[in-house]
Symmetry: C2
Amino acid sequence: MPAYKAPLRDLHFVLNELIQVQDVIGKLPGYEEATEDIFASYLEAAAQFCENEVAPLNRSGDEAGCQFDPSTHSVTTPEGFRDAYRQYCELGFTALDCDPAYGGLGMPRTLAFPVMEMLCSANVAWSMYPGLSHGAYAAIHAHGTTEQKDTYLPHLVDGSWTGTMCLTEPHCGTDLGLLKSRAEPNGDGSYAITGTKIFISAGEHDLADNIIHLVLARLPDAPKDVKGISLFIVPKFLADGSRNAMHCGSLEHKMGIKANATAVLNFDGAKGFLIGEANRGLACMFTMMNAARLGCGMQGLGLGEASYQGALAYARERLQMRALNAPHSPDKPADPIIVHPDVRRMLLTQKAYTEAGRALTALLALQLDIEEKHPDPETRQDAADLVALLTPVAKAFMTDNGYEATNLGMQVFGGHGFIREWGMEQLVRDCRISQIYEGTNGIQAIDLLGRKVLLDQGQRLRKFTRLIHLFCKEHAENSQLKPFTEPLAALLKDVGDVTMHIGMAAMRDRDEAGAAASDYLRLIGHLTYAWLWARMAQTAAARLASDEDGFYQAKIETARFYITKLFPEVHTLIARIKAGAGPLMTLKEEHFF
Amino acid sequence: MPAYKAPLRDLHFVLNELIQVQDVIGKLPGYEEATEDIFASYLEAAAQFCENEVAPLNRSGDEAGCQFDPSTHSVTTPEGFRDAYRQYCELGFTALDCDPAYGGLGMPRTLAFPVMEMLCSANVAWSMYPGLSHGAYAAIHAHGTTEQKDTYLPHLVDGSWTGTMCLTEPHCGTDLGLLKSRAEPNGDGSYAITGTKIFISAGEHDLADNIIHLVLARLPDAPKDVKGISLFIVPKFLADGSRNAMHCGSLEHKMGIKANATAVLNFDGAKGFLIGEANRGLACMFTMMNAARLGCGMQGLGLGEASYQGALAYARERLQMRALNAPHSPDKPADPIIVHPDVRRMLLTQKAYTEAGRALTALLALQLDIEEKHPDPETRQDAADLVALLTPVAKAFMTDNGYEATNLGMQVFGGHGFIREWGMEQLVRDCRISQIYEGTNGIQAIDLLGRKVLLDQGQRLRKFTRLIHLFCKEHAENSQLKPFTEPLAALLKDVGDVTMHIGMAAMRDRDEAGAAASDYLRLIGHLTYAWLWARMAQTAAARLASDEDGFYQAKIETARFYITKLFPEVHTLIARIKAGAGPLMTLKEEHFF
């Protein structure tokens, strides 16, 4: 496994040339200081930190895992994790896109997201400690009282405390309506929280002085379903320094992300503080959840990038067989395997998915910044709609593609890919969970099709497709771009037809939506990536004259690979969607043999 | 993870109703004793052994792994492995399809393959010890001298000795032409073998008294490429009981199949005996390799089945959310997740791929039996051609589908799928290697398209497509079968066109074949499965009147799921193939950023 190198060149392309972040950011009140130079210096600092501090802990962290001591209920993270976390805090990264009122640096998400991508590439298990913490920061910042903000945010911002989100219970993950944890009023404004939470990432560790758990629980007499869930702040240590009545019961043994502590947390009348309105906890939690879903997408992206780097280096060095037409390196015993078309197929699949994912991430980060800071409410709403529509796509499409990319990277290594020391199989194992947590990818698909598209009669979708339509129209006469705009425009029409088709069918039978959802999400994923690749091809084509190192040419050729080799998945997806729910639903439950 | 149950009902369907094995087997000289009753009793015994003896060792074997003691170069297999192996030998399974002249039971492969499938489902790591051994048996049986056969085969047949195949070296896996291990004549007819072999499955262990290594090495002055490789028998213990000059240097740390010892073997002038002709070792090794490739396919099949069983049981028990149209279990807090279309999509994908894989396995086993025993040379040649054509398909298509199936099974479990104790993620890790070893799936694709299809100008392919054409013609008027025969006939035509297209393009540029190969293999895979599903639907339809438990109805509906939801992948594959090699090859090596 070669050393990780942060993809600064491509980030520069995406941020400054593709989405031209400065044109937008510079005009958003509060982001005046986020200049191109500031971006560059933070990205460079993050790159160095990721390359030199956390990437070297990735393999060893996987081997060592987190250690749980049942006698003290404490967790020891792998060697080096504490030092790296301390440095990360000192460098200010926990504060990067946090509110200056609480010690934050006030940088936009368009800067924070690329930093997160790099962390995911370098060491995804490590990245989850500050990642979850940032989610807790965001929830308290959005929904906490002034006192709660003053109490918790400065510590979460400087990294001396971390945070978690506690949703899942043994009998409920997706279906939070079944949640049993309860909160009894203590009479002093606080609550006694009792229940068991499982799968709590970064739930217990030795990196910080305190851990602030955000816990979903039911108040007495709360409605039985999701409308009866409230959110509570439950610190590991209370304000007076005393230990709260909650502890880590055990750590899970997992396929991957072994260096992140996935804890079972037992709350035994622990003191908790209501955050947000009673019975509206799920809405508060979704502040964290939506960010976490984008975070998942970035895990797929970052791990795909790491795997691509490993596979590319190996494909250049490993000598095996001769090129089919003529020897590439006749002076060597065999040719490097990068000459073989099938190896290139694997590398280019990794590259095309990764670079499009990076572009989508930047696009979404920019919309989040606009949603938060833009003075015009309509512009804010448009941005919010685009984020709402594309969040499930980013989560599911990027993690599914990331899993494919990490598997391909491993495949490039042949038998060596299966050996732990090479590091390629760890990327596969670490990536696998991203398709599951924060709402399985099947749930993302239902969220997209059901809540984001059908529920508003396609209003958000039309806002999005209009952007694509305008792009196609603008470049209709550009013959260089035709290989991209023609299939894109054709898919645009197909998506309209298919959406209408599903909407009509679902009115008769809701299972029609459930049956179409996963294919539909990939269809919208390809619509998004085809649009982004067309834009990247156009951006690169405009800069070909100054193409010193072949970067822009490579971008155009990767776009061509994407549109001719990956995009055709849409034919299958459309055929599957049109086949409807029947083939899934007619088999009786007892006839599954 | 629920207990494994051998799929005896489906095996009965495939063997006795679909391929009607008795009609063929009964007429092959030497298989007179392989009656339906004999089949049933062996399958029942194998089922019991797999369910009760090796399945319970699967999780514990994964956790414990094999232990290497560097001081003695010895390997200890996980607890219970020795006992299970002793029982397996006592039950006669090591001898099942071996030559009675050496103590074998003389049963056909149509019986042995289902047994192998069950072993793979129950404990794939364990299954590889007898599996590799059987490969060594087959190579010595096919290429050994009378003395060699008399010396080694009785012990391999009764299981007191096991065998391995030693091909890979650190610098060469796919490209055996680079092989460096050397064999110097000792002057007494034996050779001194020196070199390092890696990735040797079952390379060292404590299950048997001796291990017979089949080792590829070069004689002095042998040609430098694959034409200079010879095969040697190198026993761990020599005839006089002395330890040969070879030892296990270490075990690999792997992603999966942890309970199988993947050894580095160092040969330091070890005594070896030439088997087969000098410099023709690769041809001898391919006797093992082709069987091993089918064995790989069965790993994909068996692991897919195990994962399906686990996911199905979980989907019936796990309560989460309500069915979209109306509650399924209103008396329970939520509905079992099998009501959700997307969960059914995952289960049916597992089921459809697994059952088609089982049918393909039976078909190939029968052809192998015909190839070996049929009195008519032309019939034998037809069988051999079908086996040659479909071996790479069985290896790659079944393992790729098996990997998808195990991943889907894990996904059905949600977060619990990622937890080791549930056993679902182990199936994923154990399956992953099947796409890599015995020739990566990319190599299988090149073997299929290059050697098996283009090299003989499509002769073998036409023999195969003719079978399918005849089936479609025979059932052209059967309106019940139209949903299967119509897309099948359409693909038949497309495959002809696409093969011609690639053949023409490859004459100008060989990379065109390399670029098309992986997609082409999946295309032929779907041609094969669509044919098998059409046949299964027809077989089931003919028995619907006596469908007591819904088995035949389920078969028809699974066929319908396959043809409407999985088969449409062909649209994407054809589009990708037609896009040609350009998008893969134009990007310069130095422009992969």
